[in-house]
Amino acid sequence: MRRLKRLFDWFDERLQLAAPIKEAATHRIPQKTASWFYVFGSAAFTLLMLQVVTGVLLALVYVPSAGEAWNSLNVLNHQVAFGWFLRAMHGWGSNFMIAVVLVHMTQVFLFGAYKYPRELTWTIGVFLLLMTFGMAFTGQVLRFDQDAYWGLGIGASIAGRVPLIGAPVVHLLLGGPIIGGATLSRFFAIHVFIIPGILLASASLHVWMVLKLGVNEWPMPGRVVRRTTYLEEYERLNAREGVPFVPAAAWKDIFFSAAVVAAVAICALVLGPYGPGGQPDPTIIQTAPKPDFFFLWLYAVLSYLPPSLETPFVLIAPIAGIAVLLALPFVSGEGEKSWHRRPVAILILVTLVTSWAVLTRLGTHTPWSPKMDAWSGGSPVPIQYTRGASPLERQGAVVFQAKQCRNCHSIGGDGGQRGPTLDTVATRLTEDQLIRQVLQGGGNMPAYGKNLSPPEVTALVSFLEILHPAGEPPAQNASQVQAGAPSNQSGAPTDATRSR
């Protein structure tokens, strides 16, 4: 033991690290902050370290070349011992890192920890969040499969919307005129050298500031932050009830970090690595590219925005959003920290989280995408709609199926959701309205006037006319219904249609 101590002393005499480390470890923190609410920052840092280690391990095998990347990922998955596990750890580590960083940010926001004197800590935190998103996007590109290829196409298309300098921005993003070897090489450099370097440096600075400025005290309603008095009050609080960071709070950080890493490993073991999906061959177009989980909300936003708003939105909204985040501590650097006294902050947070969750769920289901094989690979027109139908109506069902109507319209619970479900369409549209809708389109539906012959239209509309519940008559044009005349319950084609 004494020999060990001598060895330690020999090193520390030269390193001079023991004293500052001890000072940092035992610095006093307000007692109530030794809480499970304060463990997310350290967990994010642990995950960053995990990503660095697993990333370096993957780089031992991965080939950052457009021609070989996909093959090397498959070799990692199938031929290198536990290569699949390390890929899975890196992939799930990335998911967990984004999640933990967002939870950390939410906690900091809720606890008012961005207020004086921690404004710059928040600013660097926002920067760290952006870098984390940057890692997620570039990492998705390095998994060089079909989704990566077309994801790059989406990135380039967004860049191409920049006014005036759109073309140079696209060229810089792709490293040339089109997605290819140069593109993967530069994304590799960004993912492996540039962003990690910035991330490590900024995260260290972030931690340094937390050590120097002290952990944010537990917010109490009525304990108002003022620039003139805050530091003194914090000192007094710490003198009264401060506890050393190690071990009072550190044990919770350590346990939570261990739990998070264990959760990553369990997810990796049970759920396995992400892809790679199909090979990155741009001539294989039978693909429906989809972003990774944390970009699904954006995918949803981009499909719901009106076309005219899209370019302003994708170019201005991110900048505005970042500006708001950066401005936050400077606009509300003083005042109440407690969430009990910050209703607007809570409202904003709830709105953001709800919107994010709804958009992400929509992004998982993509109701706006046509179901490309619904007409050929899906189920046929349900039998209850053709049983007892006239030959013309059955012919209409054939037209309905063959003209890909079903790619956008579901019937019998099967088909695309781009357009409305047609199971009860006859109760909503009269015959004339149906004809007009089919021929002229509108309301986000293409016009089929030139692609359907008049007999096809007649058959199709007579089929659509039978799509109403048994107890509910089809919609009728009130001006054409004669008083006392029997209503057209069967949906059989009228003279008007026949004469077309």
Binding site: A66, G160, A167, K212, A288, P446, K450
Partner: protein, 202 residues
């Protein structure tokens, strides 16, 4: 540590008896300043080639494009729209399979061709042709185009991107080499008699 939080407690020059504080013009401080100046000059000189290197992918559209053959004319029957593939003229040996590019070729008459980029005008996803309903559909956000490339519905603001094409001998050639986005290679589709019946703003 807590005490020293916001004050610089390092001893000042005067306290340590070091008289070479920054305010005094001494030979050593002058040399330091000249050294910094020399460094910035060297840095700027090096920055020029570094910037040129970083900006090397930026070039005019035309310099990236060249005429590429899509194959013999008889591959494309009159009145039909067929998928064609070609090799990116700017390919590098390590591009692997990403050097392939797909496009849609529509032949309207013996000598009339319209070649559309595979990329949706919305966000670049690959559009698919459905001959039965004579529509191009995009799997990503549901953009739909008519057979002549004009916009039918969905989020795209304009019709499909079109390549310049020409007939050389019995070969169909297009001017290609760039990813089609709103600011690169974007061409208005011919809207005369477009089925959409509306001008395509590009």
């Amino acid at each position: 540590m807590r005490e020293s939080k916001f004050e610089d407690t390092r001893p000042t020059a005067r306290e340590t008896g070091d008289h070479e504080s920054q305010r005094e013009v001494s030979r050593r401080w002058l040399l330091v300043k000249i050294g910094v100046l020399v460094n910035s000059l060297v840095g700027m000189a090096i920055a020029i080639p570094v910037l040129k290197y970083l900006l090397s992918p930026v070039a005019p559209d035309e310099s990236y494009k060249s005429w590429v053959s899509l194959g013999a004319l008889e591959k494309f029957p009159i009145g039909e729209t067929r998928l064609a593939t070609f090799t990116n003229p700017n390919r590098r040996p390590w591009d692997g399979e990403t050097d392939g590019v797909a496009c849609w070729v529509r032949r309207t008459a013996a000598n009339e061709f319209k070649v559309f980029a595979i990329n949706c005008a919305h966000l670049g996803c690959p559009v698919r042709w459905f001959p039965q309903s004579q529509l191009f559909m995009c799997p990503c956000h549901g953009g739909v185009y008519y057979a002549d490339g004009s916009r039918a519905s969905g989020p795209p603001e304009r019709g499909l991107f079109a390549y310049d094409s020409r007939i050389v001998g019995d070969q169909l050639e297009i001017k290609a080499g760039e990813l089609a986005t709103l600011s690169t290679s974007a061409k208005l589709v011919n809207i005369t008699g477009a089925q959409g019946g509306r001008p395509c703003a590009g």
